[in-house]
């Protein structure tokens, strides 16, 4: 797959946007400005941005508890996201959802999910709906290495396979499910290897290499759109932050984290490539960073100024016809 210069720069900008959003969210959380708990995907930007970069606006995405990156990558508005994180009336879900429950149905984002593995059946349904409505959309479900051990993965993979549904199972294998190393919990060595159980293709990518992610996912997208059925793509990546903000992280060493950050950072990696091939100048990069930072600052500011919901609004939105 060819990626133009312009596209490359836009990929980099998107990754920077995800990271800036997440770093800001972490900061605001630290300052007790975000209630509840949040899960950041810093370090995994190549997977979210790479994957969504080969989707169409009308394609569906089912996301996870670690979903900010998927949302931004699929086009969500950081301001509405911050407003939601703050519990404001102007947030994506009017403050009813919070970090783990953001959706934007107008962008095909069927929602983050507080239940690990909750997205699998939903994307099967979206795929079936696409088939029944006879469109050429596709659906992507993001999930973690831990989620691959839920029964929903199996039922969904089997069902998608027998019906050749236009869906892609995109695993973000970041080596841990909360405190649990993938090497302990996942039999069979990889998530991608499970594909053969369903007679569908399974791929492992360097999930920190956005061009590789893009290439492999694009292949799965093509297959899906052509009616040839589902694929599993396992993006091998790493999260730098704790499982949730505040995680004591006794299950891994600081060195391990640092080593990944130094050697495998998806943004640094891509930046190096772009610089080397002459696509990116230092100046351009700084402009880009500033633009992103500004956008995030602006999003935070306006989200902070937005009003809280009236408590009574808690009674709205349960039913279409109460």
């Amino acid at each position: 797959m060819k990626t133009s210069k312009k596209e490359k720069l836009s990929l980099l900008e998107k990754m920077l946007m995800v990271r800036a959003f997440e770093e800001k969210a972490g900061e605001l959380f630290q300052q007790n400005l975000i209630p509840g708990f949040i899960h950041l995907s810093i370090g995994e930007e190549a997977s979210s941005v790479g994957t969504c970069s080969v989707l169409r606006p009308d394609d569906y995405v089912a996301s996870t508890h670690r979903g900010h990156g998927h949302l931004i990558a699929k086009g969500a508005d950081p301001q509405l996201m911050f407003a939601e994180l703050f519990g404001k009336a102007t947030g994506y879900c009017k403050g009813k959802g919070g970090s783990m429950h953001i959706a934007d149905f107008s962008l095909g984002i069927l929602g983050a999910n507080g239940v690990v593995g909750g997205g699998f059946p939903i994307i099967v349904g979206a795929g079936l709906s696409i088939k029944l409505r006879n469109t050429d959309q596709i659906g992507v479900v993001f999930f973690g290495d831990g989620a691959a051990n839920r029964g929903t993965f199996h039922e969904a993979a089997n069902m998608a396979a027998i019906w050749k549904l236009p869906v892609i199972f995109v695993c973000e294998n970041n080596l841990y499910a909360s405190t649990t190393p993938v090497a302990y919990s996942l039999a069979g060595g990889s998530v991608a290897a499970r594909a053969s159980a369903y007679g569908i293709p399974g791929h492992i990518t360097d999930g920190n290499d956005i061009l590789e992610v893009r290439k492999i996912v694009a292949r799965a997208v093509k297959r899906a759109r052509e009616g040839k059925g589902p694929s599993i793509v396992e993006n091998r990546t790493y999260r730098y932050r704790g499982h949730f903000e505040g995680d004591p992280q006794k299950y891994r060493s600081k060195q391990e984290v640092e080593s990944f950050r130094k050697k495998h950072d998806p943004i640094e990696k891509f930046k190096r490539i772009l610089k080397k091939e002459g696509t990116l100048s230092d100046r351009r990069y700084e402009d880009m960073r500033e633009k992103v930072a500004l956008k995030i600052e602006e999003a935070v500011r306006s989200a902070q100024e937005a009003p809280l919901p009236d408590p009574e609004e808690a009674l709205d939105d349960l039913f279409v016809n109460p």
Binding site: Y60, A62, G91, Y92, C93, K94, G95, K96, G97, H101, I102, A103, D104, F105, L110, G111, N113, G114, V115, G118, F120, P121, I122, I123, V124, G125, A126, G127, L128, S129, I130, L132, R133, G139, G151, T152, E155, A156, N158, M159, I162, D316, D317, L318, F319, V320, N321, P322
Partner: protein
């Protein structure tokens, strides 16, 4: 209106036939539907009439329900067949955490026009895994509507409303009522979700019930009439939203109430009704609101034990006598 005699099973199939003809986005999904028109024959004629919209699945209830949800979120109107209500247990996350909550959690962005159809109830000597009545769980889950019709006309009218409803509806039908017949209007009609019906009028006590127990209450009312006790029988038809008005009007007339359901007693829906009558109609009550439900054990296999565990007409009659003697 002209009427025909139909079974609950035929009424269901006719409702779906009409709605599937009316709206291309309606489809049926579940296990073992196509070969025998549903395992109770309840979808008679539909697989043949709508070959692309009656979909057999693997044994994967969790994903079947979740797939229904995914389809509902993206423009379709699924009817998900749970096979047996007992298997709700395998899809509770999809129902309770996803289906029921999605619209709310996402601030009203989405709608979930899905019907989950579940044959429930005991009396078939089918044992503890194929005999349950689990409506209470769903009544206690904000975001779901719960429908529990008894007679064919209600099955048809409520199913048509359920299919057209933009919110998720859990639609129970009692397995022992599939063959139950009754009058069904010839003309098209809907029965609104959330409205009960008085199936027999009476002045002395209100029997509040639904699903199969409606027939047992009607039988009991016949027997009681011989003792000059006139029981009013309310078939709730929908448990959520609840038609408390119909209960209220009746109890204000009879001053006595007995709730009857097949689900086990403790924590059953009867508790909710009794509690609400107690709260809202306290001054109208001549006697405590009584409840009848199955005894608090799993449904046993052996017929003598199953009959002992599930409510019988005699239990209703006896309970009414006790309530009214008290005065």
């Amino acid at each position: 209106m002209t009427h025909r005699i139909m079974s609950c099973s035929e009424a269901l199939a006719e409702a779906l036939l009409e709605e599937m003809e009316r709206d291309d986005s309606v489809f049926i999904i579940g296990e073992d539907i196509r070969a025998h028109d549903g395992i109770f024959g309840q979808f008679r004629g539909l697989p043949k009439r709508f070959p692309a919209r009656v979909i057999d699945t693997p044994i994967s209830e969790t994903c079947i329900v979740g797939a229904g949800l995914g389809a509902a979120l993206t423009g379709m109107r699924p009817l998900v067949d749970m096979h047996f209500a007992d298997f709700f247990t395998t899809a509770m996350d999809e129902i309770v955490n996803q289906t029921a909550k999605i619209r709310y959690m996402f601030g009203g962005q989405a709608k979930v026009p899905m019907v989950i159809w579940a044959p429930d109830g005991g009396g078939l000597r089918a044992g503890a895994h194929h005999s349950q009545s689990l409506e209470s769980w769903f009544v206690h889950t904000p975001g779901l509507k719960v429908v529990v019709p008894s007679e064919p006309a209600d099955v048809k009218g409520l199913m048509k409303s359920a299919i057209r409803d933009d919110d998720p509806v859990i639609f129970f039908q009692h397995k022992k009522l599939f063959a139950q017949t009754g009058h069904v209007p010839q003309e098209e009609y809907l029965i609104p979700i959330g409205k009960g019906e008085i199936k027999r009028e009476g002045a002395h006590i209100t029997l509040i019930t639904y699903s199969r127990m409606t027939y047992l209450c009607l039988e009991a009312a016949d027997l009681l009439a011989q003792e000059d006790i006139e029981a009013e029988v309310i078939d709730l038809r929908t448990l959520k939203p609840l038609d408390f008005d119909i209960i209220s009007r009746s109890v204000k007339k009879t001053y006595n109430a007995l709730v009857v359901h097949e689900a086990c007693l403790t924590g059953g829906f009867g508790a909710e009704i009794a509690a609400r009558i107690g709260e809202e109609l306290f001054d109208y009550l001549d006697a405590p609101v009584a409840r009848i439900g199955a005894k608090d054990v799993p449904v046993p296999f052996s017929p003598v034990m199953e009959d002992f565990v599930l409510p019988q007409v005699a239990d209703i009659v006896e309970s009414v006598r006790k309530i009214l003697n008290r005065q």
